[in-house]
Amino acid sequence: MGLVVAMAEAMTEFPVERRCPFAAPPEYDRLREQAPVSRVRLGGGTEAWFVSGHREGRAVLADPRFSSDRRHVNFPLVNADEVTRERFRSQPPSMIGMDGAEHTAARRALIGEFTVKRLAALRPRIQEIVDGFVDDMLAAEEHPVDLVRALSLPVPSLVICELLGVPYTDHDFFQRRTSALVRRSEDPQVRQRSFDELRDYLGELIDRKAAEPGNDLFSRQVTRALADGTFDRDATVSMAFLLLVAGHETTANMISLGVVGLLDHPDQLAAVRADPAKTPLAVEELLRYFTIVETATSRVATEDVTIGDVTIHAGEGVVVSGLAADWDPAVFDHPDRLDIDRGARHHIAFGFGPHQCLGQNLARVELQVVFDTLFRRIPTLRLATPVDDVPFKTDSGVYGAWRLPVTW
């Protein structure tokens, strides 16, 4: 039924651009009201199933009959130009594009590095890093300060550099290429060049780790693989690429948006400041509210699967919109209210199922430390422009802000 209605109108094109950071696109509500599993058009003229319900989204992401293989012709890529498709075909996938036993093996090689305990042990160093960048902000002679350059990007970049063993002095190089890669409106050739340059850079870095291992994640992975005879340079570069790109760009954008969200909801900010024990709740609610990664949770069916009232046939593409799911009013009452006390842990901003974000607990610690420290040390922090003038990343695979002028 929903399908018929959706087809009678012009089919919605995914992803729908966000007009405002404080609202999910109303098109998602309309689609969800018609049917939690419907159809959308993707750039390039292809179509895919579109999951906008929270329950249905989790069901798809937890079901092993859906594949993450981006090389499949029907995998719903948002940037579905031929250059992009060829890129996925030409390189060994990282874990995010693997299925089943292959995925389990690749992920298990890394999860020991990301346990809750290991990350808790990093907290003092993360605090030191955040304090250092806030010191620099406070010493700035010119106002306003661009929070993206001063804090949002440097904190997760330095943290992930130290963890992985990437020289932080190269941060401009990898930040620019990552940002070009995830920007939809970027020329496909520029994206391709960014991709190639990043891969070359990481290839050389991995060679150096093999020759002279240090005390870092990349060295540990390379050393272990060399010792047990499983070292594969191309596959290692794919792993390194995923960790470096996913490890800084996402958290950076969540820092910027979290600050915008809290400043725009002074009652919520006041509650966090009155009781820092609430910061973890605030982080979960901000993750839900903004659900910044909407295009990674796509799949292709390997068998016929029934989700809700709809049978998705083998070979068909499915887009699960985390944003639509996290604004599903059946699960999150008045989803448009930023309410840190609601208990939002079951959001799918980090995905769900076997691919649920490997770095989620690192991101949580970083966001908690940043919000606590920033609002404690700069209590009068405010935006230096009306929020409507902030350049939000409406054309990027990771939602966020290009610049965020702040003052105090």
């Binding site: 992401l61 937890a62 389990t104 992920r107 298990r108 890394l110 999860i111 020991g112 590095e113 990301f114 346990t115 809750v116 305990k117 842990r345 079951h346 980090f350 995905g351 769900f352 199922g353 076997p354 649920q356 974000c357 490997l358 989620q360 607990n361 949580r364």
Partner: protein, 66 residues
């Protein structure tokens, strides 16, 4: 209430440890381990929440074990 964890299904997301560190832990390789199989009081309620948050279906509950 009995809680069960299937280490073969676990994907090491740590949602359980984050929710109730007195019941769930991760070994060095990041895989779930249980500190107790019979949580009580508030820990039992939290363990119940952890089961609903676990992304991989590795956790399960048996309400009336004898």
């Amino acid at each position: 209430m009995l809680i069960k964890a299937d280490p073969t299904a676990c994907v090491g997301a740590g949602q359980c440890v984050l929710t109730e560190p007195t019941v769930f832990d991760q070994d060095e390789d990041g895989i779930v381990t249980l500190t107790t199989t019979h949580p009580e009081g508030p820990a039992a309620a939290a363990a119940r929440t952890a089961v609903t948050l676990c992304p991989s279906g590795a956790l399960s509950l048996v309400e009336h074990d004898t």
